[in-house]
């Protein structure tokens, strides 16, 4: 069953998040300029961008933990400034660092979280037992959190955030520091939240491969949205293929590709150029073959990482 959400166009899924011109300043620093964001209920949306882009600020604003300096936002049609309690009831939050008390056991931490969510009495115990069973934590119920590995601690944190079965999960870099096994387990838990209950998930990450399965990726840079589309559309937008070019002659080759009208985007990083290309691959290899001083040339399909560099970094002319 899909959760009831905010106002949306007729026939479209109701909105879990609807932000208009949402912004926040920290003193003279503009952390988030004016975010427009519409997240349909039940969708998986990735928020990516460099450090300082405004991702955490966005999440804290939507979670009602920060007041906006401008604009407005509604979560399931509830205003984040006027109806904080109403928003919080439908929210599950995972912060960058796990929010678990190291002195308490897994079970005690979950019980604490359940009570904070307003679940009292026997219902809290039932919710804790069900959550531990669902997340594979039952065997670790009596273990103090400080004795768990970072991976299990993070899974316990996810269990905490989902204990009250929230309609919207906001996760701020939930996989930082996790090994692939725990990362996989965490995403499988989150997939189940979407599949079984239709939960909406907004997450931020620096691992761009994690954003590939998202319904939509929102890229932030310098406090503003620089891209907002499904991953496939974002990838298509930077060209049919991407060339990585390095070596003393790289600048000249990129200029040559530009002159030939093949370049959709070009970005110079520490390890050379990433160039989004349109047109035939043969034409590119032909130009590259004739260019001197090319130490490395690889041509491959575009990735979200290429989009990230193209959209979030300041462009450099060859």
């Amino acid at each position: 069953m899909r959760p009831a959400g905010g106002a949306a166009a007729p026939g479209a899924a109701p909105l879990a998040i609807h932000a208009e011109g949402l912004g926040r300043d920290y003193g003279p620093t503009r952390a988030l300029d004016a975010l427009d964001l519409r997240v349909p209920a039940g969708s998986l949306v990735g928020l990516v961008g460099p450090n300082g882009a405004g991702k955490t600020t966005t999440m804290l604003l939507l979670a009602t933990l920060l007041a906006p300096s401008r604009g407005s936002a509604r979560v399931f049609d509830r205003d984040v400034t006027r109806d904080r309690a109403g928003v919080r009831r439908r929210l599950g939050l995972v912060f960058q660092e796990p929010s678990m008390d190291g002195l308490l056991t897994v079970e005690e931490n979950l019980l604490f979280a359940g009570r904070l969510a307003g679940i009292g009495g026997q219902a809290a115990w039932t919710a804790v037992r069900q959550t531990m069973a669902r997340t594979g934590l039952t065997a670790r119920a009596e273990q103090p959190i400080r004795q768990l590995s970072g991976g299990w601690r993070r899974l316990a944190d996810i269990a905490r955030a989902t204990l009250h079965r929230p309609d919207l999960l906001i996760l701020d870099e939930p996989t930082v520091g996790l090994d692939p096994e725990h990362r996989d387990r965490m995403w499988s838990l989150l997939d189940a939240e979407r599949r079984d209950r239709g939960a909406t998930i907004l997450f931020s990450t620096h691992y761009l491969s994690e954003a590939e399965p998202a319904d939509r990726v929102v890229m932030l840079a310098r406090g503003a949205v620089v891209a907002d589309a499904p991953p496939a559309a974002l990838r298509a937008d930077i060209g049919e293929q991407v060339a990585e070019i390095d070596g003393p002659g790289a600048d000249a080759l990129v200029a040559g590709l530009r002159d030939a009208g093949l370049v959709v985007m070009a970005h110079r990083a520490e390890r050379g150029w990433r160039v989004g290309l349109s047109g035939s691959r043969e034409r590119v290899t032909e130009l590259a073959g004739a260019a001197p001083g090319i130490a490395r040339l690889s041509i491959r399909s575009p990735t979200l990482e290429d989009v990230y560099f193209a959209r979030t970094q300041v462009p450099v002319e060859a």
Binding site: A63, L65, G86
Partner: protein, 259 residues
């Protein structure tokens, strides 16, 4: 209903944490006994107390207040740890909001201060003779003293941003509050300015109230002690609610990754 569950959650967590921090618990209990029975034994021979009381009997109400004050205030001030280590944001994200968080922490600090003071009170027969009604009255006074200690602790924590200041708070806030209170010596003999400070110090009235229940000579009327403590508790809680900034955790820190 949701607020009650939140308060219950915070209280249960604080009680579990307290029982698992045994060294802190033992230190909190040892402090008043060391004062009353070690230092007090030496003072017995040199101190002349009004009413012919032994120094240990005179200092015992102060020992009870010491246990309650340190237990209650330190538990309340541990809000700073929660702010530093991310637990406070979890509590603030609760639908019940700031008021339930403050109420929960006040209640848990009151219980912890009351239990610590209660243990010292339960051992009172080692230094003073009390009747059962006197024990009961002292226990009631102890609840009020613990509540006031808890709210004073919350007030201190309201704007404290870092646990690095924690040791300083004990030295600059707790010790002066206790030493200028008549807990260890009568305030009548203090120099004028210190005596004036003692008069505006809520801890003075905690000690005085316990003295009333012990049947010892007291400086103020019973109603004055109760009135001052109730007003101090309400004022401290109200000020905390005004000063407490839920955004402090996010705004006051250095820029972090992803912000």
């Amino acid at each position: 209903m949701s607020g009650a569950a939140t308060v219950q959650g915070i209280v249960v967590r604080d009680l579990i944490r307290t029982t698992r921090q045994r060294s802190r618990l033992v230190a909190g209990l040892a402090r008043p006994f060391i004062w009353v029975f070690l230092i007090g034994a030496g003072f017995n021979s040199i101190a002349r107390i009004e009413g012919g009381l032994s120094y240990q009997a005179f200092a015992y109400p102060g020992g009870i207040v010491m246990a309650a004050l340190f237990g209650g205030m330190l538990t309340a001030i541990s809000t700073v740890y929660d702010r530093e280590f991310g637990m406070l944001r979890l509590m603030l994200a609760s639908p019940s909001g700031v008021s339930a968080v403050l109420a929960g922490r006040t209640l848990s600090a009151t219980i912890i201060g009351g239990v610590q003071g209660g243990i010292v009170l339960a051992c009172a027969s080692l230094a003073v003779r009390l009747t059962l009604p006197q024990y009961a009255a002292a226990a009631a006074a102890l609840v009020l003293a613990s509540l006031t200690s808890a709210t004073l602790g919350l007030l201190v924590a309201a704007r404290l941003t870092s646990v690095e200041n924690f040791g300083g708070v004990i030295n600059i806030v707790l010790f002066p509050l206790f030493f200028v209170s008549g807990a260890l010596y009568p305030t009548a003999g203090l120099p004028g300015p210190l005596r004036a400070l003692a008069r505006v110090n809520p801890v003075t009235y905690m000690v005085d109230l316990i003295r009333h229940t012990f049947g010892q000579p007291a400086e103020f009327a019973l109603a004055v002690d109760v009135g001052v403590l109730v007003i101090a508790a309400v004022a401290a809680f109200g000020l905390t609610a005004m000063l407490f900034d839920p955004e402090q955790r996010f705004v006051g820190r250095k820029p972090e990754r992803g912000r």
